[in-house]
């Protein structure tokens, strides 16, 4: 994300709001410092999250900077297709989850890896915990927070990354999920309300649909009809279906499942998801329309040509009054921090609760489990920060992360929760997670080492000649190519493995 051209002038009121926001986040962490006696208190907020807290933490966690800047970037270039083709499939899955999620909560597990371990054994649990850890390394948010700090305080990028990560680590490691959920609640309110106000002000001031349509015509120098076409004038049903497949990550998203296990009752989960869905949709729609409005604003000469991923910031900075700009920037920071804190916490659970304790210290006391989890939050942050300096192409990391969690976890987890009576042997689950996990790593290694970077498609591509015909394998195809093998491995293992009841697998843990 290039932030060098966005120039935002802040008043003392804006600065006061930004500093107040950061101070409140840290204070909340310290408030909850002494409130945990057990791992369940620390990691799952004592399984006491009620509907409002669930809504706040779910919405804020799933909408980070990728939505804010990514969806608005698509809106800037392609118009409403950013919402209809890319974001709407997620809305459908959130609604489906509203009916699936209560079943997970009824199981009384602490993590989804508990379910996998109970049904398929230690090996499957360890591998699925590794995939969850890989998924939860939130390099994207760390980089985003670093850029925002760099832009606000005119400090070097590395210092921005460290400062932002430090604030999140302080309140997450000290306060656990209670601190994360309560800070998420503030972050959720700030990021949604400021975005709603920004959309209202920008859209009205640019003259509504008519004014924006003329602005887009001036920007493009031609009829901008495709900006208001749901398919963008070029997307086919097949391409849209392919994008929809990537949204399957929602079904096995570690932080999503973490919140479900932390909710007070299955009913609270369903109500929270049903209320969150229209907020998620409105948020995506607002980001997309603000990107589109930015393109119109350039055409009308209201703002200069911004870098595409800064379109939203550029138009908002132009229209919001002092005070609200500070609140909006706090909202942008909130979007990043609320996502980062959740994944730090989830990945600390993967390291200590899912890997260290079952494999090396089965009799670890609750006190030590909490203490080690707090340290593991720091470890997760260090890994994320280190990777944020290492990777230049963040999109490639995200595609790998989404692929590894879907390929490793989706089939065995849903089989264990929804088709438990059909499980004959734990070998099926073990083979499935191993095929998904190692298959994904092997596929990405192959594409990144033997393939080349396509400037046209901006992704890694491996051309293969089969029977005189050249086929291009993209790194994104791992999400489509590997699941059939995972399913096959699951079926073969389930049918041919040693017959064993899930209770025995649980005992083996």
């Amino acid at each position: 994300m290039d932030t060098t051209t966005v120039n935002i002038s802040l008043t003392w009121l804006d600065w006061a709001i930004i500093f107040l926001y950061m101070a409140v986040m840290i204070a909340i962490g310290f408030f909850f410092r002494k409130k945990q006696r057990s791992f369940e208190d620390y990691f799952l907020a004592s399984k006491g999250l009620t509907m409002p807290l669930m809504i706040g933490t779910l919405v804020s966690t799933f909408f980070g900077l990728d939505t804010l800047f990514g969806t608005s970037e698509i809106g800037f270039f392609e118009g409403v297709t950013g919402f209809f083709a890319y974001a709407l499939p997620y809305t459908g899955l959130y609604l489906i989850m509203a009916y699936l999620a209560p079943r997970f909560r009824q199981l009384e597990s602490n993590t989804f890896t508990d379910i996998i371990g109970d049904n398929y054994g230690k090996f499957a649990r360890a591998i699925s915990a590794c995939s969850s850890f890989f998924y939860s390394i939130n390099t994207m948010e760390i980089m985003g927070m670093g850029f925002i700090f760099t832009m606000l305080f005119k400090i070097p990028y590395w210092l921005g990354v460290l400062a932002a990560a430090l604030i999140v680590v302080i309140y997450t490691s000290t306060g656990g999920l209670w601190a994360v959920a309560v800070t998420d609640m503030f972050q959720f309110t700030i990021m949604t309300v400021t975005l709603g106000i920004a959309l209202l002000v920008c859209w009205s001031d640019l003259g509504g649909y008519d004014g924006i349509f003329s602005g887009l015509a001036a920007y493009l120098g031609e009829d901008p009809w495709y900006f208001f076409s749901p398919s963008g004038g070029y997307l086919t049903a097949g391409v849209i279906a392919a994008y929809a497949l990537t949204s399957l990550a929602v079904l096995c998203e570690p932080a999503f499942l973490h919140r479900i296990f932390a909710s007070r009752t299955p009913r609270e989960v369903r109500r929270a998801l049903l209320i969150s869905t229209p907020i998620w949709s409105a948020y995506e729609f607002a980001c997309c329309m603000l990107g589109l409005a930015a393109a119109a604003a350039v055409g009308l000469g209201v703002i200069g040509e911004p870098h595409a991923n800064q379109a939203l910031m550029a138009v908002v900075a132009r229209y919001l009054p002092p005070g609200l700009i500070g609140l909006f920037l706090a909202g942008v920071l909130a979007a990043a921090m609320s996502t980062a804190d959740s994944y730090f916490l989830v990945s600390s659970g993967n390291l200590v609760y899912d890997l260290y304790r079952p494999l090396f210290r089965p009799h670890l006391s609750e006190e030590k489990l909490v203490a080690y989890s707090k340290r593991a939050v720091v470890v997760s942050a260090v890994v994320s920060v280190a990777l944020s300096f290492y990777f230049e192409r963040i999109m490639g990391v995200w595609v790998f992360q989404a692929s590894i969690i879907i390929n490793t976890v989706l089939i065995p987890l849903y089989a264990a929760v929804f088709a438990k009576k059909r499980l004959k042997s734990r070998l099926g689950g073990s083979l499935a997670v191993a095929t998904g996990f190692f298959g994904t790593i092997a596929y990405y290694l192959l594409i990144t080492t033997a393939g080349r970077f396509s400037e046209e498609w901006e992704t890694m591509v491996l051309p293969l000649t089969i029977g005189g015909r050249t086929v291009e394998l993209w790194q994104e195809y791992g999400i489509f190519l590997i699941p059939p093998f995972v399913l096959l491995a699951f079926i073969i293992g389930n049918l041919c493995g040693k017959k064993e009841s899930p209770e025995r697998a649980k005992e083996a843990l």
Partner: protein, 47 residues
């Protein structure tokens, strides 16, 4: 005002009204929790 204007204003209204409503419910709950010091802690083991 056409359909897109209506959609945009509806989305903006949803982004302002729904979260504020949720935040109100949260404040009510958190006020009660602070008053009763109820953070759902697991009770300490009895002797």
């Amino acid at each position: 005002m056409n359909g897109w204007d209506v959609g945009v204003y509806a989305a903006a209204a949803a982004l302002i009204i729904l979260p504020l409503g949720v935040f109100y419910l949260y404040l009510r709950e958190i006020a009660r929790r602070v008053k009763e010091n109820d953070w759902g802690r697991t009770p300490p083991p009895t002797l």
